[in-house]
């Protein structure tokens, strides 16, 4: 028997490793939380790792999940063992193909990290709503409930599908299983070979399409035979349960772990039994063990094979003593009698009762009552306490037939109460929680710790990591368990005997010690030494330390990191302290193991990296100090710091709901707090005041030249520009600064450039672009990054005052120049986007220019996350309450979704026009014709039309008749709506291209803004068709081999589409002009906006000035194509950038995405760089010719023109 290794991996890796070993073709498309499976498969293939048959699997990234499933279908039909990985909407996109694959009895396994399907909102988190949507496809469905099972069941599914010919969905819970790191026994290649019957693989090949043995498949059938043909596959489905059980038995024979179609856990004489599947089973088993120890007769029936539902096996697995059952579904089907598993259980029991297909001996000896519950939607916590609550509820005389657990439902009162003090954690388990930032390496270090303990000691180890949804200053919480037994605790740690806070400021904003167990250990990364730290702690923290009698340690992790050259990466220092204090290994052995782990992890990165890490360990241990906690009441005397000022608002909903979510109390909100249809107010990001910057830009008016560039490029709208009359300064704070505004039309006006100190992320982009330099010291500019704490109080006062100064009159602003447009109020502010984000400045500019009449259709991606992920949104309103209305539908559908918005706006305007004509005599012919014929082209005409509409509504109110009310309801549409269809290149170039292409041909007035980072940014840098040649990205690990798709020219080819390619950092004026042109064009406009991204491997502080290099190399030529020019007899294509003056190679040296290939594979890099240069040369040549092209565009009469 094989000597198997114990490894620590997450569920995705566990499943993907089997999939890669047992398949020949892997077609994928990234989607959270399944992306990592495809990435790992691609990585293994790029390293030449073979499958068990000895060939390297082909991995291909497709344009969508529909494409991945379709190519998988093709590969299967051609006889290759094929798989894919997906989740949520991705799985839904595969459904049409899945019907085909099953209908053709094709053996395959798709591995699913089960995730919520988007409904009232998107959620990236785990539940079964996606897999449940596949019930009718004819696929077998096998559930894995833990990391180890994700490996085992992946193999069992693969072996079974080959025998059964029925395709299998192998699913496990997104995040809870896919991202949990756990110690598992690794299957060997021989184990896998033992399970896979090669003769069945050959049979699969023999059935394949081949010209040597031609057949027809996928015919069209008429009513005469379709039905019979559909029934012909029945025997295969009937055989599946038997085959799966036999496969499980074969697995057990060799590996020792015995799985069954339905597995019973608990008391053999249980009276109350749960039925469920998925990761929640871990929590349920723990609860049952405790309840049984307390004498309760309870049990759990685990569903392993969900489809085909094996009724007899199900009934056979039930103890005869069961009186009541609760079937727990991790999904919701509104309108159904119950959720799917519940319905199946009820039906199975009924069939047992009624006889039917169930044999006499399988009929249930019991007649249990069945209740259905929902739990854990979108990774809602599911704990042993909740399980206990369900069992308790089953004792009630009249339990709720349908209930929920895990929330407080005060609307339909379906929820069960649970006792949070019910815990199953055992004393011999080390439970550690770490609070850190995404950027400080805490999670990486903790994954490492799990590995060190898991792979070097007999202890079992588990790691689970919680991230907030910000892309800058994101907080991470790591939950680590170390136990002498395998760890099934599939829920967050509620009481930790070790708590570490890796960032001092987090003790001011988070209740980090809430989870600390009495007598536990608290490690704080503190700039203050042990004898000084106490006076700097918030009172609440002091109280908890004293009351819980915590052992309190400090280490200056940042000092250690700084002194050892590790910058902000405090991970190594903090990890060393954890090992020194946690006591799971003798201190010296622990430190040696960390060093070994560092050698493994960082060895290939060079000696200097190893030296740094080793020094950090040694120095951290030297600096680790125990704090002598002051005794008694004296301990609380001195108040600590608390700079937390967020959520000062009078808005009831925001205060009640948004603020609670922000403060981490979202779990406590009842159902009644939620809007019923997913609607939220805009303008809420401004309440967060995250204050994450260490340095902020400080203005020096004596140097400023009023250019407005700083405000234009600020990714977070945290630098503002305002011009105002002198009189506006009455009551200004002492430190408020202003200067004379150089504008001949406003000679008496002053100007202020103001930072929002708590909203700035400290990225420094504004300072980088500032062109005004001091004559005395050149490095001093008109704005300069300075330590925030030196300026915070003053700038807070200043910003508050600045906001009170009236906004500049839009009708008087020169919006077609940068300094003019930056006077307009941004209606997109303080997003959670990355430091230095290249996308957000475009959205902000759009919101300034058109936001007060804009509707935004936003494709899923980075922009939908920083734009619409709770708790807040950066989209906001002006003082009139106007601002962008925003909606994210899906990823793939955004162009069509946005088109629908346009159609409705146009239809409403048309309808208003019809009604206006009916009221013409009473409203006045001239007034009505002004309203109808208004052609809003600038702020003055827009303001005039708004006035007319206001007058119209006042008049209509007087009429008090149905038609008048009807007209009033559509009157706002008489002011031209600005429809913006926004998304990234993954959407526009790949998954949404078909729809985008169609929308371009409709001639409707939509503005499509593509925030082009050249990569799938949100899911972690996978290549898209916008990825430039030679760039390294996931699925292009050896450098992208194909040139970037020229989306702009594809659109130009239509003739009637306004197309612009812009880069705000390279040419702000061209960007501004293009945005104005696009919006004013009454047909479809496509604006491709160059957006730097952290996935480019550049210094994001210099991202905007770096755009100049991008344009100078010709990688991103600037152009505008305006059909109106062609109609006017001019050349429509204008090249706005100069002939390239830099070689691609010079750019390649400056960007990690290009440079890394030069380092990893210099020969290939040389070849790709040469090709990339050729692409540029060729494209430039093509564009130069385009600039001379004349066209005769047939003006098809875009609406309203």
């Amino acid at each position: 028997m094989a000597n198997r290794a114990f490894i620590t991996v997450d569920g995705n890796e566990a499943a993907a490793s089997v999939a890669h070993l047992t398949n020949e073709v892997i077609a994928i498309y990234p989607i959270t939380p399944a992306s990592n499976m495809g990435e790992l498969a691609d990585y293994w293939t790029s390293r030449g790792q073979t499958n068990i048959f000895g060939s390297v699997p082909e991995v291909i990234e497709m344009q969508s999940e529909a494409g991945a499933a379709a190519s998988a279908h093709g590969a299967l039909q051609a006889g290759s063992l094929t798989t894919t990985f997906t989740a949520s909407q991705g799985l839904l996109l595969m459904i049409p193909e899945m019907f085909k694959i099953a209908g053709e009895l094709t053996p395959t396994v798709f591995h699913i990290a089960a995730r919520a399907v988007a409904t009232h909102a998107l959620s990236i988190f785990g539940d079964h709503s996606d897999v449940m949507a596949c019930r009718s496809t004819g696929w077998a469905m096998l559930a894995a409930n833990s990391v180890e099972e994700a490996q085992d069941i992946a193999l069992i599914a693969q072996a079974a599908t080959l025998r059964a010919r029925v395709p299998f969905l192998h699913f496990f819970d997104g995040f809870r299983t896919s991202h949990e790191v756990n110690k598992i026994e690794q299957l060997t290649h021989d184990d896998i070979r033992w399970m896979i019957d090669e003769s069945l693989v050959q049979e699969h090949r023999e059935r394949a399409l081949s010209p040597d043995n031609p057949v027809l498949r996928g015919s069209a059938q008429n009513p005469d035979v379709f039905f019979q043909a559909r029934e012909a596959s029945n025997p295969f489905y009937l055989a599946v349960p038997g085959i799966v059980q036999e496969t499980m038995d074969r697995f057990a024979e060799r590996i020792g772990r015995q799985y069954r179609l339905f597995e019973y856990f608990g008391s053999p004489s249980a009276r109350r039994v749960l039925v469920m599947m998925g990761s929640g089973i871990g929590a349920a088993e723990e609860a049952i063990e405790r309840l049984m120890a307390e004498g309760e007769e309870v049990g759990l029936l685990k569903v392993r094979l969900y489809r085909p539902f094996a009724t007899e096996a199900f009934l056979a697995a039930l103890p005869a003593t069961v009186e009541r059952m609760a079937v727990l579904d991790r999904t919701k089907e509104p309108g159904a009698i119950g959720e799917p598993l519940y319905l199946d259980v009820v039906t199975a029991l009924a069939e047992g009762d009624f006889g039917g297909s169930v044999s006499a001996e399988s009929r249930p000896a019991c007649r249990p009552e069945v209740y259905g519950g929902r739990y854990g939607l979108a990774s809602k916590e599911f704990t042993p306490a909740m399980v206990a609550a369900v069992f308790d509820h089953l004792k009630e005389p009249q339990p709720k037939r349908h209930f929920t657990v895990g929330i407080y439902d005060d609307v339909t009162n379906l929820s069960l109460k649970w006792d949070p003090s019910f815990t199953t954690e055992r004393g011999d388990v080390t439970r550690a929680i770490f609070f850190g930032l995404g950027s400080d390496g805490t999670v990486g270090a903790n994954k490492n710790s799990v590995k060190i303990i898991g792979e070097n000691t007999p202890l079992f180890a588990q790691g689970y990591f919680v991230y907030d949804s910000k892309k800058s200053g994101a907080v991470t919480v790591s939950h680590l368990r170390f136990s002498p037994r395998p760890i099934r605790s599939t829920y967050l740690i509620e009481e930790a005997n070790f708590v570490a806070c890796h960032q001092f400021h987090l003790i001011e904003t988070l209740d980090v010690l809430k989870v600390a167990a009495r007598g536990g250990t608290f490690l704080l990364n503190s700039p203050y030494a042990a004898d000084q730290v106490w006076q700097h702690l918030p009172s609440q923290v002091k109280r908890q330390i004293v009351e819980k009698q915590l052992k309190f340690y400090v280490v200056d992790g940042h000092g250690v990191a700084r002194e050892t050259g590790m910058g902000g990466r405090i991970n190594t220092a903090m990890q060393a302290c954890f090992f020194a204090l946690a006591g799971m290994l003798p201190r010296d052995a622990a430190i040696e193991e960390i060093k070994n782990a560092i050698r493994k992890t960082y060895g290939k990165r060079g000696q200097s990296i190893l030296d740094q890490n080793f020094s950090a360990i040694d120095l951290a241990l030297e600096r680790l100090q125990e704090v002598n906690v002051p005794a008694g009441a004296h301990a609380m005397e001195e108040g600590g710091t608390n700079g937390f000022v967020s959520f000062q608002t009078n808005d009831d909903f925001v205060q009640r709901v948004t603020a609670a979510i922000f403060a981490g109390r979202g779990d406590l909100l009842p159902v009644s707090a939620m809007n019923v249809d997913g609607t939220f107010p805009t303008g809420t990001a401004k309440y967060e005041k995250r204050s994450i910057a260490n340095e902020i830009p400080i203005w020096d008016p004596s140097i400023c030249i009023d250019c407005g560039l700083c405000a234009l490029v600020c990714p977070h709208s945290a630098i503002r520009m305002k011009a105002f009359p002198d009189s506006a300064l009455a009551g200004k704070p002492g430190g408020y600064q202003s200067k004379t505004w150089k504008d001949k039309d406003h000679a008496d006006y002053l100007l202020t450039i103001q930072v929002a100190p708590d909203d700035c992320t400290g990225c420094g982009v504004c300072v980088d672009v500032c062109p005004a330099k001091s004559k005395e010291a050149v490095k001093h500019k008109a704005i300069n990054m300075e330590p925030k704490l030196d300026h915070l109080n003053r700038e807070r006062e200043n910003f508050d005052f600045f906001l009170k100064i009236p906004e500049f009159d839009r009708t008087r602003a020169k919006v077609d120049v940068v300094k003019g447009c930056q006077l307009l109020e941004p209606l997109f502010e303080f997003s959670g986007a990355c430091l230095g984000c290249g996308e957000t400045p475009y959205l902000k500019l759009m919101s300034q220019l058109f936001g007060d009449r804009a509707i935004v259709a936003n494709a899923t991606g980075c922009s939908s996350i920083y734009g619409g992920n709770l708790p807040t949104t950066p989209w906001t309103k002006d003082k009139n309450g106007r601002g962008p209305a925003w909606c994210n539908s899906l990823f793939e559908d955004n162009a069509e979704f946005g088109l629908g918005i346009r159609l409705a706006a146009d239809q409403q305007r048309d309808y208003a026009t019809v009604l206006l004509k009916q009221f013409a005599d009473r409203l006045g012919e001239i007034f009505v014709s002004e309203l109808i014929e208004s052609n809003e082209t600038d702020e003055v005409s827009i303001a005039a039309q708004r006035d007319r509409v206001a007058r119209l509504k006042r008049k209509l109110a007087e009429f008090n008749e149905p038609k008048a009310r009807e007209l009033a309801s559509v009157a706002d549409a008489l002011v031209r709506r600005s429809v913006w269809i926004v998304g990234g290149d993954g959407w526009a170039y790949d998954i949404g291209f078909g729809g985008l292409d169609h929308v371009l041909t409709t001639n409707r007035d939509v503005n499509i803004l593509v925030l082009d980072t050249g990569v799938y940014s949100n899911t972690g840098g996978q290549a898209s068709k916008a990825t430039p040649r030679a760039a390294v990205a996931k699925f292009a690990a050896n450098g992208k081999a194909i040139r970037k798709k020229d989306l702009g020219m594809l659109a130009v080819a239509y003739g009637n589409v306004y197309v612009a390619q812009i880069a705000v950092g390279a040419n702000p004026n061209q960007t501004l002009q293009a945005m104005l042109d696009a919006e004013s064009y009454r047909g479809p406009s496509l604006v491709l906006a160059y957006s730097q991204c952290i996935a480019h491997g550049i210094n994001m502080t210099r991202g905007m000035t770096h755009q100049k290099t991008i344009v100078q190399t010709g990688l991103w030529p600037l152009f505008r194509y305006d059909p109106r020019l062609a109609v006017a007899g001019e050349r429509p294509f204008r090249l706005d950038s100069r002939k390239p003056t830099l070689r691609f190679k010079e750019l390649a040296e400056q960007e990690g995405r290009f440079a890394m290939i030069a380092r990893s594979d210099p020969k290939n890099a040389e070849r790709l760089f040469a090709m990339a240069q050729k692409d540029i040369d060729d494209q430039w040549h093509y564009y130069e010719q385009m600039a001379g092209v004349e066209r005769e565009i047939e003006w098809s009469g875009a609406k309203d023109e």
């Binding site: 691609d42 999670v443 994101a474 990165r605 060079g606 972690g1020």
Partner: protein, 334 residues
């Protein structure tokens, strides 16, 4: 009968005094082979910069670590890469191949930045098969608390450390800015240096007047730059027995002759080969040969040092008088 061009440098017997100094031409094997074909006597490979290696390592590390595990949806932003060619492997590979396949001596060159780094990389270069090692020591002191003696001691410490660690000959390449080279250079010899290369040319930045930014730019040497090594080799020749090599501004055979006259054992050339091509080595060799033959010298050895400070007929011109004379001779004539 032709004069014998051979010379001894760092104890290495060279067939002529022309050495290709550290630069782009010695950075790849193909051009090294061409240099050999055209008759250079030895080649100094470009400097292995510890600082550069560490910087690369840091950059790649930062690149791989940047934003990892910071978001639930994107645990990383780049694909895993098997390995990056950071560190000295490529450089050491070049030394090994050149030492193996070429017949001329291969001299490694090292610029360390940490005490451990000097020793570690020196050993690696020796192990790779270099016949000698040139220590390219320089740094720009900006700390006013650091005295001239401190700076010199730093050089001496580096040399001593490396001397203790390796067996092959060591040359030290220094800049001209020392208070008294006749005092300092013998100390270097005592610390273990077998030779001195005069002088290093620093990367001196320019200013872009449009952007008001400092622009680091390396420019090729000019011929007048050979005057400094010429003077100092002449003076040092009388004080030390170690090897002396000249670098900077050696563009023509006549330049080499002059330096050999004052006592150089070898002449290191780069700029002139970059300007005229590798074939120009032939020209230099022929020029030296021709001059020696025409002037009836038997050998380079005979020529070397025949105009050192003590052997020159008007040695005061190597000192301050040189300047005096220049002023006088520059008087306007009527």
């Amino acid at each position: 009968m032709h004069a014998d061009l051979s010379t001894t440098y760092l104890g290495l017997k060279l067939k002529n005094p022309v050495i290709a100094s550290a630069g782009p031409l010695t950075g790849d094997f193909d051009s090294l082979r061409r240099l050999e074909d055209h008759g250079v006597a030895a080649a100094v490979l470009p400097s292995l910069f510890e600082e550069q290696i560490a910087l690369d390592e840091q950059r790649i590390n930062a690149f791989e670590e940047y934003q990892t595990f910071s978001s639930a949806e994107s645990l990383t932003f780049f694909p895993q890469v098997k390995e990056f060619s950071v560190g000295p492997q490529e450089y050491l590979g070049l030394i090994a191949r050149a030492a193996e396949e070429l017949s001329i001596p291969i001299i490694g060159s090292l610029n360390g930045s940490s005490p451990g780094g000097w020793v570690r990389y020196a050993k690696l270069i020796e192990e790779a098969g270099a016949h000698a090692l040139e220590l390219n020591i320089y740094f720009v002191p900006t700390d006013p608390n650091q005295s001239a003696a401190d700076v010199e001691q730093r050089y001496l410490d580096f040399v001593a450390r490396v001397r203790n660690a390796i067996q092959i000959p060591i040359a030290v390449k220094i800049g001209a800015q020392f208070t008294n080279l006749t005092n300092f250079v013998p100390k270097l010899a005592k610390a273990g240096a077998d030779g001195i290369v005069l002088f290093n040319r620093y990367l001196e930045p320019d200013i872009d007047l449009d952007s008001l930014q400092l622009m680091p730019q390396l420019v090729l040497s000019h011929r007048h730059e050979l005057r400094a090594p010429l003077r100092w080799i002449a003076i040092l020749r009388d004080h030390v027995s170690m090897s002396l090599a000249a670098t900077s501004g050696i563009h023509y055979a006549e330049d080499a002759i002059k330096l050999l006259l004052v006592g150089a054992d070898a002449c290191l050339v780069t700029s002139t080969l970059l300007r005229h091509g590798i074939e120009y080595v032939d020209e230099l060799r022929r020029g030296i040969q021709q001059w020696l033959d025409e002037h009836q010298y038997e050998s380079v050895e005979q020529l070397k040092g025949s105009m050192s400070h003590s052997n020159a007929p008007d040695a005061s011109n190597l000192e301050r008088a040189n300047y005096m004379k220049a002023l006088v001779s520059y008087s306007p004539t009527t």
